[in-house]
Amino acid sequence: MGEVTVHALRGVDLELHAGEFVVVLGPSGSGKSTLLNILGGLDAPTSGEVRYDGGTISAAVERELTAYRRKRVGFVFQFYNLIPSLTALENVALVTEIADDPMDPLDALRLVGLEARNDHFPAQLSGGEQQRVAIARAISKRPALLLCDEPTGALDIATGVLVLEALQRTNRETGTLTMVITHNQAIADMAHRVLSIADGRIVGDRRNETLREPRELTW
């Protein structure tokens, strides 16, 4: 079979700043996940450059990318990806144990309102609770960049709101650059900045003059 080159992203020129809450919107296959993967150090662009705080991630080798993820990036996955054999607290500690200047894991759980459930295993938590543990885990290392891929994708609306509140609170209290990828337009209303991606290109980059609180959102 002949090789077919598919460009997931083309001509992306983007600058992101500390403290921003960014929502990336786009339909399936638009390239938004590729953008997140590249920013998170999971993937490398075939051409072009990604710079972070003076360094160049796009030229980094595997080991440097791991170190970048370990020190700088917090991830929140669509399906939480908690370690089932660890309690909520231990799932957070999983990250704080290898971070340079982490929070106390219990404090991180407190930020997402789950300190009382710290010794519960994932199987004993609801989906929303699991996602909040995942957020606590992601923020506990005090990342410079918090990347969330469809964090509410697997949740009902009420639970989704709780998760978004946790993200917003973290962003406000820690000043972490937070990027939420979603195809849920409603979430865009709580972001400082909204990027729209279609067909591998950034087709929109707007700032919200007024921010809505997560509990005001409906979808």
Binding site: R69, K71, V73, F79, P84, S85
Partner: protein, 794 residues
């Protein structure tokens, strides 16, 4: 009614894809199954080959059922023997100890000259001619020699040979080489190990042998075939009654005949190995099928749901996965049959060097192969049965759901407050091990099986080695042992002592006897030794010297058990060396011995009792090593000497014989152990990867290094391996004990010995196999799909 599958071909293609996707794991299982099949076919095939060669040879050459040696009986005594009910054929012979001079060999060679009826090749124990022919009737200068002896010395028909018969040197011409059912294994009298260079069998016409030994019109050996096996006991008793007055050594049946006895022991050993080895493999295969197929089906619930929703019936879905199991088992069996065929022919080749059959070749009966196929298929189906039934019973709607998430809890160590400071990665490891205790336990047991198998195999070698070193270093202090032609006066000791190079001599007297206690009786050789014997001391299990009681009979533990007697009890002893006196004697001592049935008493008491003047029929010599060869040549030519053997030769011969067998065994044992342990560990690792790869990929995304993730995979595997080591050693010890108990008999028993080096070897192989299997899977951690886990559901 369930609809007929619309496109069964689609399922077949899926089957092939599934097989390919699981190729590494299925290959590991296939290797285990193939090893099981191969060992089964090797052991059982060798057993068949040996049995077939033996039965054919015995039947065609008319191997006798009853044998008796005696001093001398007139030919007419044979007529009386022939009238014994049950006796079918009978043949009298003259069999005599000889000394041989072979051109080009300076060794002291002894042998046996066996008479052939004057004008035929005989009715019983007929030599099978391989090259040349039997001596012509009437020719006094022709002999046929045993093929093994001819080969050992490079002798051909046409070569000549000097035989010292009854103190006369007689030249013979070799006219042929032959084999005989009586001498499939040829052990010289008094020797422990067969040695074709130092002991040979020769056949000549009766007139020649009889005249050389002044046995005209007489015989000193008789063989009989018996009609119906029930009558054997009666025939034995009747023969004893008839030949009593002619100096009979007591009639024996086939199972007591040396060559056949050695052969029977080997067959017994093979039979027990054929049970142990393949069952170990099949048990492990069963476990592997259970975990791998179980895991595969758990991972394919959605697929099952779709298949069922599309109208595939429960049965066709079950058959689909069942046929995957059967395909693997069949492919493995095919490999096992090929490997087994090759291994069997190598093993039979090794047997052919020690067992002289004219036609010993590897046979593989189709029924045996079919049996192996059935065993392999059953192992597969039994192993996968639970998973297969589960998949058939799964309703389509339920199959669409994810299985309930596995609940974890803190481990026992954590619950009791220990291990609080355990690093997180180790908590993950321990909780995973503890969450599925059954699977972990079976995994440990599976990994242990390899080490256990290896250890039990090495135990056999250690035990044989120990017995021989005990025999050669502790029990036999002589350098040379001499068998005399018959009882000689005690002054023979002095005669031997005067020979150049002799430093010490101890004469002994061996007397065959039947010892009875109530209804139990055993036939043994009573050994009469000097009270202060330094060359043949009595020792305990640990090789420490035991005092030799002056009073009463000392018997081995095995004999004491067989007769149900203890020191202080009295037994009835019937001497079988011509005089056939009966008397009662008290058991003075019971001593441990691995040679099974045996008894000894002070030489003086024994000879006083036999009514002879103090006499010996053999002697143990301590000699100067640099004069040994010359001395042995001198000894063998002495009229009173019937045979000479040296410890050095016996040790050399044993080492030559066993070295290759041991290398062969060790090679396969190490290979099988690696397959078992490696196969189990590899599959455990692959299943861990399949079940928790997502977890590890998540950790990689969170910033964990590859090496840190590897700790979880390898840590868990190697922890289980570590736990498996003591279990492996314990199981190996038990397996060795069972194997030795099953190969042991009243004739000999092997002590269970395991050298530290064998433990070390087993541990090394288990560790190496598990490290290798772990590293093989660890490579896959490098290709964990990090991006995938962000998007997919657990």
């Amino acid at each position: 009614m369930s609809p007929k599958p619309l496109r069964p071909k689609a399922l077949q293609r899926k089957l092939l894809r599934d097989l390919w996707g699981l190729r590494g794991q299925l290959l590991a299982i296939a290797l285990v199954v193939a090893s099981g099949v191969a060992t089964f076919l090797t052991m059982r095939g060798s057993l068949d080959s040996l049995s077939l060669a033996m039965e054919t040879f015995y039947e065609e050459q008319r191997f006798a059922d009853v044998f008796c040696q005696l001093e001398r009986a007139p030919k007419r005594a044979a007529e009386e023997l022939a009238r014994i009910p049950g006796v079918q054929h009978l043949e009298t012979r003259v069999v005599a100890a000889i000394t041989l001079e072979v051109p080009g060999s300076s060794a002291a060679i002894s042998g046996r000259l066996v008479s052939l009826p004057e004008s035929s090749s005989g009715l019983l124990n007929v030599p099978y001619v391989l090259r040349g022919r039997l001596p012509e009737p009437g020719r006094t200068d022709e002999v046929t020699v045993h093929d093994a002896f001819a080969r050992a010395h490079g002798l051909q028909p046409g070569d000549s040979l000097t035989v010292i018969v009854n103190e006369r040197r007689v030249g013979f011409r070799i006219v042929g080489t032959a084999m005989s059912p009586e001498y499939v294994v040829t052990v010289a009298p008094g020797a422990v190990v067969p040695d074709d260079k130092l002991f040979g069998i020769l056949w000549a016409r009766e007139a020649v042998v009889a005249s050389s030994f002044n046995m005209e019109g007489a015989f000193n050996d008789v063989s009989m075939s018996v009609q119906g096996s029930d009558s054997i006991e009666g025939v034995l008793a009747a023969v004893d009654r008839v030949l009593d007055r002619y100096g009979s050594l007591g009639a024996i049946q086939r199972s007591e005949q040396v060559s056949h006895w050695v052969l029977l022991n080997e067959l017994d050993g093979l039979r027990s190995m054929a049970a142990v080895l393949p069952s170990t493999f099949m048990a492990v295969a069963l476990f592997l099928f259970a975990v791998v197929i179980g895991r595969m089906i758990r991972g394919a619930r959605a697929e099952v749901a779709v298949l069922k929703a599309f109208g595939y019936s429960d049965v066709s879905v079950g058959l689909h996965y069942g046929s995957l199991v059967l395909t693997v088992a069949l492919l493995a069996t095919f490999g096992g049959v090929v490997a087994g065929g090759w291994m069997e022919s190598s093993m039979v080749g090794l047997y052919a060097r020690n067992f002289r059959f004219p036609d010993l070749h590897a046979v593989l009966r189709p029924a045996l192969v079919l049996q192996a196929v059935c065993i392999a298929l059953s192992a597969g189906l039994l192993g996968a049965a639970r998973a297969l039934m589960g998949v058939m019973a799964l309703p389509p709607a339920e199959a669409m759901h994810e299985p309930a998430p596995l609940a974890y809890r803190p481990t026992f160590l954590e619950r009791i407050g220990l291990a609080r400071r355990l690093p997180i990665t180790w908590r993950i490891i321990l909780r995973n091990v503890e969450r599925q205790p059954g699977r972990s336990f079976l995994g440990v047991l599976g990994a242990a099986s390899g080490g256990a198998l290896l250890l039990s195999g090495l135990a056999l070698q250690d035990s044989i080695g120990t017995v021989l070193s005990l025999q050669f270093d502790v029990l036999q202090h002589e350098d040379v042992s001499v068998t005399l032609g018959g009882p000689r006066g005690i002054n023979a000791v002095e005669e031997l002592r005067r020979l150049p190079g002799v430093r010490n001599v101890e004469g002994y007297r061996m007397v065959p006897a039947r010892i009875r206690s109530g209804v139990r009786s055993r036939r043994v050789l009573i050994e009469g030794l000097p009270t202060r014997s330094t060359l043949r001391p009595l020792v305990d299990d640990h090789g420490r010297a035991l005092p030799f009681e002056r009073e009463g009979l000392a018997i081995t533990e095995t004999l004491a058990t067989a007769l149900g007697v203890a020191p202080g009890d009295s037994v009835q002893i019937e001497l079988l060396d011509g005089r056939r006196g009966t008397r009662r004697e008290v058991i003075g001592q019971v001593f441990p011995s691995f040679v099974g049935l045996g008894a000894r008493m002070p030489l003086e008491s024994l000879t006083k009792w036999t009514g002879d003047a103090p006499s010996i029929n053999g002697a143990h010599l301590v000699v100067d090593e640099d004069q040994r060869l010359q001395l042995m040549r001198t000894l063998i030519q002495l009229p009173l000497v019937a045979g000479v053997g040296s410890k050095v030769d016996a040790m050399r011969q044993f080492n030559e014989m066993s070295a290759e067998n041991m290398r062969f065994m060790a090679f396969f044992l190490v290979m099988f152990a690696s397959i078992l342990t490696g196969g189990v560990v590899y599959n455990n690792a692959r299943i861990a990867l399949a079940e928790r790869g997502r977890e590890w990929a998540s950790m990689r995304v969170l910033g964990y290094e590859r090496s840190e993730i590897s700790v979880i995979l390898l840590g868990e595997l190697w922890l289980l391996t570590l736990v498996s080591l003591p279990i492996s050693m314990g199981l190996g010890y038990l397996l060795a004990w069972g194997t030795l108990a099953s190969v042991g008999s009243e004739m000999y028993s092997l002590p269970l010995v395991l050298h530290p080096s064998s433990y070390a070897m087993s541990i090394l192989v288990v560790v190496a196999a598990s490290v290798a299997a772990g590293l093989l899977v660890r490579r896959r951690l490098d290709t964990l799909h990090l991006i995938e886990v962000l998007k997919t559901r657990a």
